[in-house]
């Protein structure tokens, strides 16, 4: 992370390339792109210090449309390549854009280790629960029963929950948003960027062609308010059209229940207050999903620690200081030598 105040005031246009955007009309990726192009100037970052690294997939086309540095790499490997970028130049702001297949299938190992190491990357996982680019096969996040060209009778394997994968891998910033959530997505990007260390953001992204409406149970306008909960640190976990529903710990258990404020003697004081520094709470909140619970969005977990590349350089600097300016010839002549004349 590197906040700079560029001399010139940049706008959305300055972060847009002249390349024609090639996603299907109506794809959720457009909204995410626009939001990023809009939010980066607000963050005050410079274009030259910003790098977008992606793997392969529809989502991974993202860098071509950002007027920053961009590296469209190979399937699943973006976190590894981005780690190398950070090791070479920790001053760069590095964003990783990846799909659910890219991040969790072929690239699961790299994502796990980038999170565990806490490399200062902003990782955006565009989760459309499908392989878009390869024409609609089910993915590791598809819910069981997903019918796709490779699972014509429905998939039978259990999906992975990306946020829980991230938490389990040791991520210290885990957030969730929706492609259409233009209101809170900028804040999520801003906070992910500000976070020192790996930030993990899952974005529910609608693939209008191969998986249209998979998230409609909590993103459709009529149900959204009752099916989404925007978690805010230090505030009670309240949701609903009337802002009268909340999450409460079932007495004597570690399980949550949905309660209605003002009914059966429930008051705001009974509602669980979001603590973004609690890993346990993060695990519980990320498990919830409609229809019995709301889908929890927002910054679910944030507990910063020193980042990998920072510690690498700290160690490196201390060794360099101790050894002083090196002399190659003297280095080679260390140990047992003899002279032939």
């Amino acid at each position: 992370m590197n906040v700079q105040t560029p001399a010139e005031k940049l706008t959305l246009k300055d972060f847009s390339t002249d390349q024609e955007v090639r996603w299907c009309p109506g794809c959720g990726d457009y909204a995410i792109l626009k939001c990023m192009q809009r939010t980066l100037p607000q963050m005050g970052v410079s274009r030259e210090n910003t790098v977008f690294v992606s793997g392969i997939g529809c989502a991974a086309r993202f860098p071509y449309y950002m007027e920053t540095y961009g590296f469209h790499t190979i399937h699943g490997r973006a976190p590894a390549i981005a780690t190398g970028v950070k090791l070479a130049n920790p001053e760069l702001d590095v964003w990783v854009v990846t799909g659910d297949g890219d991040a969790l299938s072929i690239g699961g190992n790299h994502l796990m280790h980038a999170l565990r190491r806490n490399v200062d990357l902003n990782i955006l996982l565009f989760n459309n629960e499908i392989y878009g680019l390869t024409k609609g096969q089910y993915s590791p996040t598809s819910h069981p029963g997903t019918r796709s060209p490779s699972t014509p009778y429905g998939s039978v394997d259990s999906p992975l929950n990306p946020c829980r994968f991230a938490l389990g891998s040791g991520a210290r910033f885990v957030a969730r948003t929706v492609d259409t959530a233009q209101k809170h997505m900028p804040e999520i990007f801003t906070r992910a960027h500000a976070h020192q260390g790996a930030s993990f953001v899952e974005i529910f992204q609608n693939c209008i062609v191969y998986n249209d409406g998979v998230f409609s149970d909590f993103t459709d306008k009529p149900v959204a308010a009752d099916a989404q909960l925007l978690a805010v640190h230090g505030e009670p976990l309240i949701f609903g059209k009337e802002k009268n529903k909340g999450l409460r710990l079932k007495p004597g258990t570690l399980a949550l229940e949905v309660v209605t404020i003002g009914e059966e003697g429930v008051s705001v004081e009974d509602i669980l207050v979001h603590d973004q520094t609690s890993e346990t709470m993060a695990f519980i909140l990320t498990k919830l999903s409609p229809p019995d619970f709301p889908m929890v969005l927002g910054v679910i977990y944030e507990d910063p620690a020193s980042s990998y590349e920072r510690d690498v350089y700290r160690q490196y600097e201390s060794v360099r200081k101790e050894r002083g300016t090196p002399d190659f010839n003297a280095f080679l002549a260390k140990g047992d030598t003899w002279r032939v004349s």
Partner: protein, 630 residues
């Protein structure tokens, strides 16, 4: 067939010898590698030429006393340049029955065997599946056998230090070392100095080890008086003047990479995943942070090559290193490096394959993988190291080519070169050519949009634009790019053009590398022996011997395998016959044939052991006599 010291000769009864091969062998817990390495130091300091071959067991700690737990270290040293670690040992030091059993087959009649009789007991015979005591059953009759109870003598020597039996016996290797130092008249002082350094924090162990070393030495002296033991002197080799040290291939390669970074004034980011026999390079570079080196132990080989490429993209010199199985995993990312035209160095320390193969044994069987092993038309320069010291210069050259041509470059080395040691004349860093790094400069705002596809008309290298540089924002990736703009392009004619440019760029390197020379012998003639990589030593020596016998044979050794030097085809055409010894089933010969439609003869060996000089001499004789008969 004329014999030579290389092809089998026993030690004379006493006095000066031209060269000697000693093989130290024992249980993996006996400290054989350390014993060998210290004997090597003393040999180097005595000014002899030398070459070593550490022969590790595959198991880390095999059960004590078993044959598969035997560790060995072979050294050949002499009063001239030594090319190989020797075909047959003249002296075998066997610290247990298993070590004798495993190694006795290597010896010629009359060789000297030194055994630790203290270990020749029933229990150890059982572990090594030995039926009868070989010291008693007459099976060693054709050798000279020195039976010494090294175990007991070591325990006596270290008694005053109050160590338990087990700890006391740990000094056995130093006792044996002391005896060998005496036998070959080497100085003990540098070894004692080394012990002082190594055990500075544990005086008791240090003193016990020194006592054992001295006791072994004294044992030689007393036995000589009684006429039981002979002593030899191997003179100094006449080497080029200069400051020398011993170096292993892994050291020279690591130092070469570090030197290249310094010559390019650019940081090196070295990314690797542990694998035998490549790991020592990671270990060595991790200790060299003062040379602007960041090392990264990645989660796997794919991550390692990707991180190295990411580092190169960001303006550092990305280097990754592995062995065959790991190189296989790196293939896709190498293709990305080729497509995005970024510098990258990939080091392959080859081992026996396929699959896990023989991790601790040597082979040269990844040549096809290096030259052809990627999807698409994906040409990449390939360089091969021929000896430990050579690794330094190859590493520098690989970095130079990678940067100058904006391409991944593969270095083929192998487990034998990586672990073997030889005397090395230290290069003068200040005399090495600097490596130019053409990072594109920042542009003022309002300038023309930056075009990342601009090429140097000479080298065809693409520009290297470092993130963080104002005005150079651009996008690259593995999808085909327009030759003109660098933007994604699916245009058929453009792909044809880009594929040709990638081919021409790598082929053009041939103009930038030295023409192929004949390593030894004439520029034309009846027979050329052509090799690459670590077969250098045995071929060099074999050809020298054959020529001294009066045969018309020359040695050509390749450093550049892709592209070949421009004159190679013409040079080879000047020989009636071409012999290609390789530690694989004939990979270089296929590539040569592919380029030059060459009728050559293959000499293959895939036993996990380097070629013997005698094997190559025999093939030379065979080819020349066939030719005579024709």
């Amino acid at each position: 067939m004329q014999t030579d010291s290389e092809t089998g000769k026993n030690l004379p009864t006493t006095g000066d010898v031209e060269s000697v091969v000693i093989r130290f062998a024992g249980d993996s817990g006996d400290g054989i590698q350390l014993l060998g390495a210290q004997f090597t130091t003393s040999t180097a300091l005595a000014g002899s030429g030398l070459s070593t071959f550490p022969d590790f067991p595959a198991e880390i700690r095999a059960p004590l006393g078993t044959t598969f737990g035997v560790s060995a270290y072979q050294i050949k040293f002499g009063a001239r340049k030594i090319f190989t670690s020797g075909d047959q040992p003249d002296v075998l030091v066997a610290l247990n029955p298993a070590a004798l059993k495993v190694n006795v087959g290597l010896l010629l009649e009359g060789s000297l065997i030194v055994v630790d009789t203290g270990t020749f007991v029933e229990r150890n015979f059982k572990k090594a599946h030995i039926e009868a005591d070989p010291l008693e059953d007459g099976s060693l009759a054709k050798f000279q056998v020195l039976k010494i109870d090294i175990s007991r003598l070591t325990m006596e020597a270290v008694k005053e230090f109050g160590l338990g039996n087990k700890d006391a016996l740990r000094s056995k290797n130093l006792w044996a070392l002391g005896l060998m130092l005496w036998m070959f008249d080497h100085d003990r002082a540098p070894i004692i100095e080394w012990l002082n350094r190594k055990f500075a924090k544990n005086e008791n162990i240090r003193d016990a080890n020194i006592a054992a070393l001295n006791a072994g030495h004294a044992f030689g002296e007393t036995s000589e008086l009684s006429g039981d033991m002979r002593r030899y002197t191997v003179g100094a080799a006449s080497l080029e003047p200069g400051l020398y040290r011993t170096v292993t291939g892994a050291q020279a390669l690591s130092w070469g990479l570090a030197a290249a970074g310094q010559l390019a004034k650019t940081p090196l980011v070295f990314c690797s995943y542990p694998i035998t026999p490549a790991s020592p390079i990671l270990h060595l570079l991790a200790q060299m942070k003062e040379f602007d080196i960041v090392t990264f132990q990645a989660e796997d080989e794919i991550a390692a090559v990707c991180a190295a490429l990411g580092a190169s993209y960001a303006g550092s010199i990305g280097v990754t290193s592995s062995s065959g199985p790991g190189i296989a995993l790196k293939g896709e990312a190498m293709g990305l490096a080729i497509s995005t035209e970024l510098p990258l160095v990939i080091v392959n320390s080859q081992r026996g394959g396929p699959s896990t193969g023989l991790p601790t044994k040597t082979e040269q069987s990844d040549l096809y993988q290096a030259v052809y092993g990627r999807n698409g038309d994906a040409p990449m320069p390939v360089l091969a190291t021929r000896s430990p010291g050579d690794c330094f210069f190859i590493a520098v050259e690989a970095v130079r080519l990678a940067i100058k041509y904006m391409t991944p470059v593969m270095i083929l080395t192998d487990g034998y070169i990586g672990n073997a040691a030889e005397p090395w004349k230290l290069p003068d860093f200040n005399a090495l050519d600097p490596i130019a790094v053409p990072h594109v400069a920042a542009r003022p705002s309002g300038a023309e949009p930056f075009n990342p596809s601009v090429r140097d008309p000479e080298t065809l290298a693409r520009v290297w634009a470092k993130p963080g540089t104002k005005g150079l924002e651009h996008r690259i990736g593995g999808i085909e790019k327009s030759h003109e703009t660098g933007h994604i392009s699916y245009d058929p004619a453009n792909h044809q053009k880009m594929t040709q440019v990638r081919r021409d760029k790598i082929a053009g390197i041939a103009k930038d590398i030295p023409p192929q020379e004949v390593d030894f012998g004439e520029e034309s003639g009846r027979l050329a022996v052509i090799g690459w990589g670590s077969t250098y030593g045995p071929i060099a020596r074999a050809v020298r011997i054959a020529r001294s016998e009066g045969h018309d044979v020359s040695h050509i050794h390749l450093t550049y395998i892709n592209p070949f030097p421009e004159n190679l085809g013409e040079l080879l055409s000047r020989f009636d016959r071409i012999l290609v010894p390789e530690m694989n089933m004939g990979q270089l010969i296929t590539v040569l044939r592919d380029h030059f439609l060459l009728q050559a003869i293959s000499l293959c060996k895939v036993s996990g052991q380097p070629f013997k000089i005698s094997e190559i001499i025999e093939a030379i004789h065979g080819q020349l006599s066939l030719q005579a008969a024709e």
